[in-house]
Structure formats: structure tokens, C-alpha cells
């Protein structure tokens, strides 16, 4: 794929930021493993609309069941967990993140480090952009009967706007519902200064993340903003927003990408550095996790690079200008929750993707429609038509699932991707 020089560089770079990330995540799971003996409290919550800075200001440790589910998917454990949940009466029709999580719980709740994840002291139901979240934590509540639940209802941006009463509603819920429960669980009083300093760190890391994601505007792109992007968003969507470690990670990552850019290097793939960028794509929808590598390979072996994706915005749309603002701590958390990608209306999503196709000089766009997630998937076929009309660029459509291995048909998906890329090639040939 590349000469030995760049390959060595690739490995070195991979080591720096990847190792850092591995350290962060490993450290977090270790802390979780020790939480009970050290008397630290654990809060379960979701990625979209997560209130990491606030939780951290109470010294609480976040656990994100979606991340556990996707990691189970990557470790090929999700299939077994899902069957376990279905055996317990969960329908085959519903979200496999939920079933994977329930199945994992039934089988001892062992996390990626091999140690059990501690039980929650609080279920912080950040009800943002996904109706299934509510049912998910109601189901967990049945498992952890004594555990309190804090519900944070984030209104949907149905008409593409944040109305001031939405923000007020969220801030009021933070004051009357979320903060009191965090205080009660942690035994600490709400400390706004601490929250402010966390928020300042968030904004710093967000600047660097945005720089990294936008580096894909360069031709060739130094990153893959989807398959690589899911790694880049890991710390900030997970437990490390508003932490010094998070800031450090993004500073390191940015300097690596700066270097790649200066050297005109393409993205790193599991098979080494991509040496020819043949197609630039925008992708809508989450990836498949059970066959993540195989899925990625279907793109990079054709020279297809993803230059922008909506999935990497489920935990916040920083590239559209939003930054956590320490001067208005609760209001900024409200704005953050309101702005997550899955909380946007369909027309707003189409607008965003249209901009991505143009701003990132994409040759095409592709939708990976996942069975589990109606928040993403319902309406994607209309989005496809609208985007084709508005951009004049043809779209591709593939179907899979998040973590249900039964819904990843490799031959079928590969066939579609190839057909699609060949169509782009043919059109390009005709235009030339």
C-alpha cells in the first residue's frame, strides 16, 4: 500500500495518539473497576446530550452503555448478548444496542477490560434525539431497582430552531431534577466554578477536534472522517470532555494530522497508509460495528476516503460553531444537548449533508441505514432523493445494523459499494 518510509511513519503516528487513547480508556475502566472499593459513584448516561463536565464536577464516573455495546460488537460478543436478551423476551424488531446491553448485564456486565462494570448509582437519562433512550433506562431501572433516575428531556429541534423556552426548560430541569440528584448521589454540593473550569477545557479540546475533522477538506485528505473519525471522537464523546487528558489527546492528535498534511499523506488504514485517494465520500448514518474492519476495507481497498460524516456529530456539532461556553454554564449545556445531530430535524440534516458534500468537495455520498436506529434511519430514503436533487451528486444506499451480526451481509454490501463507486467512476469518465 505504501513505501516503507511512510509505513514506519504511520506506525509511529498510530502509536502516539492511539496509545494515548488506549491509555485514557484503559485508565477509565480501571477507575470504574476500583470505584466501589474507593467509594466513587458511577453514573450511567448516553452519548448524545451527555453532561460530562457536570458529572465530573461532582467527581462522578460516567458509564456509557452505547459505547459498551459498540465495543461488544467490535469484540464479536454482541451476537451472544443479543440472543440472551431475545431469550428473555425482547423483540427481534428493536434496537440491538439495548439488547446487547441487557444481554451483557445478564451475563455479568463484564467490560472490555475483563472486569465487571460497577452498578450505577444514578441513571442519568439524557433524553436527546432518541426515543429508545427512555425505554432503555426504564429497562435498566427494573434491573437496578433502588437506583434513582434523573430524566432530562431535551426538546426536538423540529422546526430547525432552538427556541429560548427549550433552553429554559432544560436549564430548569438541570436545576430542579439533575443537579439535586447529582448532589444527592455524590454527597457534594454543586460547584459552579468547577463546572466552569471543566467547560473551559471542553472548548479547548473542541477547537482541536474541529481542526482535525476539517483537515479532510484538503485534497487528498489526511484523515478518514468516518472510519478513522469514530476513533477521533472517542474521548470527547465518551468520558473525557472537559478533562485535561482530553485536551492533551486532541492536541496530540492535531499535531499528528498537521504533520500528515504537511507531508501530503493520506489516511492510515488497518493495512497501512492509503496512497491514492480515488473517491471522496460523505457518509450518513452510524457504521456497523460487528464487521467494522471488513466494512472499512470495502472502502479503502477501492481508494474511497470518507471526508465528512454525520455519525461523528451525534455527540455534538462542533464544526458548526458550537463551543461549550464557561460564561453561561447551564445554558451552554442546554445548547449542547439541543444541537446534537440526532436532535436535528430531517430538513436540517439534509442541509448539513448538502453543505458537507460541497464544502468537502465530495464525489458522492452514501447512507448506511442501520436497522436498529430509527432516529437515524426513518426518512433516510427521502434524504437521499433530496440530496441528489440539491447537489447533483448521486447517492448510494446500503443497509446493515449496529451490533447485530445477523444484519451484516458482506457480499451484498460489497456489491452495492462497488456498484456505486463504479457508477461514480463512469460518470466521471463521461464528464471528462
Amino acid at each position: 500500500m505504501s513505501n516503507s518510509q511512510t509505513e514506519r511513519n504511520g506506525d509511529v503516528q498510530k502509536e502516539r495518539s492511539m496509545a494515548l487513547q488506549k491509555e485514557l480508556v484503559g485508565g477509565h475502566f480501571d477507575a470504574l473497576g476500583r470505584a466501589k472499593e474507593e467509594g466513587r459513584k458511577v453514573v450511567y448516561t448516553f452519548v448524545p446530550g451527555n453532561l460530562t463536565e457536570l458529572m465530573r464536577s461532582f467527581d462522578l464516573l460516567p458509564v456509557l452503555p452505547e459505547i459498551n455495546a459498540l465495543q461488544s460488537g467490535m469484540r464479536k460478543l454482541s451476537g451472544g448478548y443479543i440472543s440472551e436478551a431475545e431469550k428473555q423476551g425482547h423483540s427481534e424488531d428493536v434496537c440491538t444496542y439495548v439488547k446487547c446491553d441487557i444481554g451483557m448485564l445478564k451475563k455479568g456486565n463484564v467490560g472490555p477490560t475483563g472486569k465487571p462494570i460497577p452498578e450505577p448509582d444514578l441513571l442519568l437519562l439524557s433524553y436527546t434525539g432518541c426515543c429508545t433512550f427512555m425505554k432503555w433506562f426504564e429497562l435498566l431501572k427494573q434491573e437496578y431497582e433502588g437506583c434513582p433516575v434523573a430524566m432530562l428531556h431535551v426538546p426536538y429541534q423540529a422546526d430547525g430552531q432552538v427556541h429560548s423556552h427549550y433552553r429554559d426548560y432544560i436549564v430548569e430541569q438541570l436545576r430542579s431534577e439533575v443537579i439535586p440528584k447529582l448532589e444527592q448521589v455524590s454527597g457534594q454540593a454543586y460547584d459552579e466554578d468547577k463546572l466552569r473550569s471543566n467547560l473551559t477545557l471542553s472548548a479547548e479540546a473542541e477547537d482541536d477536534l474541529v481542526w482535525v475533522l476539517e483537515s479532510a477538506k484538503n485534497v487528498p485528505s489526511p484523515i478518514d472522517a468516518y472510519f478513522g473519525g469514530v476513533y477521533y471522537i472517542g474521548p470527547i464523546f465518551g468520558a473525557f470532555r472537559g478533562t485535561p487528558e482530553g485536551v492533551d489527546y486532541y492536541r496530540t492528535l492535531r499535531s499528528e494530522i498537521e504533520e500528515r498534511l504537511a507531508n501530503k499523506q493520506g489516511p492510515i488504514t488497518p493495512d497501512g497508509e492509503l496512497d491514492e485517494e480515488r473517491y471522496r465520500l460523505v457518509i450518513e448514518g452510524p457504521p456497523n460495528w460487528t464487521s467494522f474492519r471488513e466494512f472499512w476495507k470495502m472502502f479503502y481497498e477501492e481508494g474511497a476516503v470518507v471526508v465528512a460524516s454525520s455519525y461523528t456529530k451525534v455527540g455534538g456539532l462542533y464544526d458548526r460553531g458550537f463551543r461549550h461556553d464557561a460564561t453561561r454554564p447551564l445554558e451552554t449545556l442546554a445548547d449542547y444537548c439541543l444541537g446534537c445531530y440526532t436532535n436535528l430535524s430531517l430538513p436540517a440534516r439534509v442541509d448539513l449533508l448538502e453543505d458537507y458534500v460541497r464544502d468537502y468537495s465530495a464525489d458522492g455520498f452514501m447512507i448506511n441505514s442501520v436497522k436498529s436506529c430509527n432516529s437515524f434511519s426513518a426518512g433516510q430514503l427521502l434524504m437521499l432523493r433530496q440530496l441528489e436533487e440539491r447537489t447533483g451528486v448521486p447517492g448510494g444506499f446500503i443497509e446493515s445494523d449496529l451490533v447485530d451480526p445477523r444484519y451484516f451481509s458482506a457480499a451484498n454490501i460489497k456489491n452495492r459499494i462497488e456498484s456505486y463507486l463504479q457508477m461514480l467512476e463512469q460518470k466521471r469518465g463521461a464528464a471528462a
Binding site: 428473555q88 423476551g89 425482547h90 423483540s91 424488531d93 428493536v94 434496537c95 439495548v98 433524553y127 432518541c130 426515543c131 429508545t132 427512555m134 425505554k135 432503555w136 426504564e138 429497562l139 427494573q142 434513582p148 433516575v149 430524566m151 428531556h153 426538546p155 426536538y156 423540529a158 422546526d159 427556541h163 423556552h165 427549550y166 429554559d168 426548560y169 430548569e172 430541569q173 430542579s176 431534577e177 430535524s345 430531517l346 430538513p347 440534516r349 439534509v350 441505514s369 436497522k371 430509527n374 432516529s375 434511519s377 426513518a378 426518512g379 433516510q380 430514503l381 427521502l382 433530496q386 443497509e399
Partner: protein
């Protein structure tokens, strides 16, 4: 059947089968300047629409009579059926009588459908009704009041006049009438289900989604008088069941008939729950908007799409079983219905704690075959009767 009842049933059946919403078109053409506003399940404050002099119209999919040609082009195979047929109705000009559409927060599919509507029909009024999931009057109540205020202003703009408090108070009172009539109907059916077969009750109820509320209340009352006059409706040895899961996508009528033929009296259900959303009356005096807000916070039906703070899911179901002296519960949910299917294991757990028997199956609005359901429901009915005799 007496002529009077036969006529009533024919009328409501006709309304049910009319996929062109002719009755709504007729209502609009009776007076120039009239407007109609569509709404999807579950709950919308119909009082506001009524107070604006408009007709609220329930849009509940296309049932099993509509051939889906364009609607399928918009949805993947793993998405439920109601959005396909709803799009189909709209794309085939069957919803031309509607001046706007309200999409309550049932689930992500219906939520996204509101966005699809905005893109497909940019000239029409569309509003997503984000029901509050916080029940503190100062928090969720304030939010909900602002949402209702916006809706009130929007509807007033379409109507060409402001909606006054007096009009709204009047609307609350006519809807209270309707709710009382429906409560009576449900109580009457629970007491003597053989007089009020659910396949008929459903049609009477369903008429309430297209008729002006005053007219619907009269039909319900009339039905309550007429149905008991039928000589051939006699008590039979059948089991009493509560039916759950049908709050959004509608079952085909054949499914309800099948359940009754299989030996099940349906003594409670969550069919067309929005018409019966409030447990009691909404206060008629004082600030009518605030009354609607407080009624929502305090009197809402419990269903899968509404959060229940700190509560155990399913208490309402156990209550219903006990109140209606039911012997079992049938979970009958649409395929791919996230809220109903995710809720089900919690409801099952609640029933099992009380030792209440249950069975379950799935349908879609256009299911055409009931053989399996007939057999399953029949077996269930037989087994719970044996069980309750033992």
C-alpha cells in the same frame, strides 16, 4: 340487528372505510373558510383546534385496504407500516382536505415523519408536538404551556382570528362531554362485553377521529342506548382480556373480530388512546390553557411513549386487569413498533409479579391472515378459563 343500530353501525363503518375523508371535505364545504387539521396518534390537544373553529382529523394510516405504491419507496423494510400508508394517503391527494398536520412525540419514526412532511409538503402547516416528559408544573408545565401558546397562535393565524379563552373554555367542556361518553362506553363494555363487541366499539370510537366532537358524542350515547336492545347478544362463556400495544398503528378490523371469535371478550384496551387520554374531566373554569397543561401533567394515560418518573412500568395495566376483572392480557403490537415492543418486557414483568396470564403476537395494519392469531388467542382463552376454574 335493529334498524337503528344497523344504520349507526353502517354510518361508522362507512367513515372507517372512507380513505378519501369525504366527511371532512363535506364538513369543510358546508361553510366557506373552514379548516381541518390532521393529527397522528397518540395525544394532541384537540380542544385548541376545535376552539379555532377547525376540525381535528385523526390520521391513522391506510389500514388493510390501501395499496402501497409510493409509500414503500420512503421506508426500509424494518420500519413499521403506518408511516408508509400515511405518506401514500398524502401522495395520492387523499389528505387534500387537511390544512395542517400535527405529529405528537410517539417515537422516532413519527418524529422524523414530521420532517418528511416539511420537505414533501412545504406549503402546508406542520407541527411536531413534543409532549413534556417532566411533570413538574413549574418545569414541564411551563414548557408545555409555551408549546400550547405557540400552537394556539399558529392555529389562530390559519383561522384568521385569535382563539379566545371563552372559545377554549367551551371546547374543553364539549370534549369533557365526549370523554364522559367514552368512559361510559368503556365501563358498559367492561360490565357486559357481549352487548358491546369490540369490533363495533372500535368503529364507534374511530368515528371520533373524523366527526365533529359534538356529533361523535351523540353517536356514542346513541350506541350506548341501542346496543343493549339487541336480543341475540347474550352472555357466553368466554374469557375476559385486556388488549395492549395498539396505541399507534391500527390493527385491521379482522384482527379484532378474530380475537372475539377466538373466545376473548376485550374488556379494556389502548385503542385510540388519544381520544381517552385524560383520566377525568379537564376543569372548565379559570385559565383554559393552564387547565389543559395541568390536566396533561396530572391526568395523562400511561403509555409507552410517556415517561413515568421513578415508577414501576405496568402498574396501570395491573390496575386495569383488576378493575375490569380480566383474566389475562393479550399483547398485540405492530411489527417494528419500538415503544410498544420495548415496553412489553416491563409489562410482562409487572403481570408476572401478580400472576396474571398473558400471550403476545404482532401484526401490521395490513395483515391479511389471522389463522395463527386465531389459534393462539383461542388456546390462550381456553387455557385461562381452565386456569381460573382451577
Amino acid at each position: 340487528m335493529t334498524t337503528d343500530l344497523a344504520q349507526l353501525v353502517e354510518r361508522v363503518s362507512h367513515l372507517f372505510e372512507d380513505l378519501n375523508f369525504q366527511s371532512v371535505r363535506d364538513w369543510k364545504s358546508e361553510e366557506p373558510g373552514r379548516h381541518a387539521i390532521g393529527y397522528m396518534p397518540i395525544y394532541v390537544p384537540r380542544e385548541l383546534v376545535h376552539a379555532a373553529g377547525m376540525l381535528p382529523v385523526g390520521i391513522l394510516g391506510g389500514g388493510d385496504r390501501l395499496e402501497i405504491i409510493r409509500g414503500d419507496a420512503y421506508f426500509q423494510s424494518y420500519i413499521c407500516h403506518i408511516p408508509r400508508s400515511t405518506i401514500e394517503l398524502a401522495l395520492t391527494q387523499r389528505l387534500e382536505a387537511l390544512d395542517g398536520m400535527l405529529f405528537p412525540s410517539i417515537c422516532d419514526v413519527i418524529r422524523n415523519l414530521s420532517g418528511m412532511w416539511q420537505m414533501l409538503f412545504p406549503e402546508r402547516y406542520v407541527r411536531y408536538i413534543d409532549l413534556p416528559q417532566n411533570f413538574d408544573p413549574a418545569v414541564g408545565g411551563t414548557f408545555w404551556r409555551q408549546e400550547l401558546d405557540t400552537l394556539r397562535t399558529d392555529l389562530g393565524r390559519i383561522a384568521g382570528r385569535e382563539i379566545t379563552d371563552r372559545e377554549l373554555q367551551h371546547s374543553v367542556s364539549v370534549y369533557n362531554e365526549n370523554r364522559r361518553a367514552l368512559r361510559q362506553l368503556y365501563e358498559a363494555r367492561s360490565a357486559r362485553p357481549w352487548l358491546f363487541p369490540t369490533s363495533e366499539v372500535y368503529l364507534v370510537l374511530r368515528a371520533g377521529t373524523v366527526l365533529p366532537v359534538e356529533e361523535h358524542t351523540a353517536i356514542v350515547r346513541r350506541y350506548l342506548e341501542l346496543a343493549p336492545l339487541e336480543d341475540d347478544r347474550r352472555e357466553q362463556d368466554m374469557s375476559r382480556v385486556v388488549l395492549v400495544g395498539m396505541f399507534c398503528e391500527q390493527p385491521p378490523l379482522g384482527l379484532l373480530i378474530t380475537l372475539e371469535r377466538a373466545g376473548c371478550w376485550i374488556v379494556d384496551d389502548d385503542l385510540l388512546l388519544g381520544l381517552r387520554w385524560m383520566g377525568g374531566d379537564v376543569p372548565e373554569d379559570g385559565d383554559p390553557l393552564q387547565n389543559l397543561v395541568i390536566a396533561y401533567l396530572e391526568q395523562s394515560a400511561q403509555t409507552a411513549s410517556v415517561y413515568q418518573p421513578e415508577g414501576r412500568r405496568g402498574t396501570w395495566l395491573v390496575d386495569s386487569v383488576q378493575r375490569n376483572v380480566a383474566e389475562g392480557v393479550i399483547f398485540c403490537a405492530p411489527s417494528f413498533c419500538d415503544p410498544a415492543l420495548l415496553e412489553q418486557p416491563m409489562l410482562v414483568a409487572a403481570l408476572e409479579r401478580e400472576g396474571i396470564p398473558h400471550t403476545q403476537f404482532k401484526y401490521s395494519e395490513n395483515t391479511g391472515q389471522f389463522a395463527v392469531i386465531r389459534e393462539q388467542a383461542g388456546t390462550f382463552s381456553d387455557s385461562i378459563r381452565l386456569w381460573s376454574e382451577a
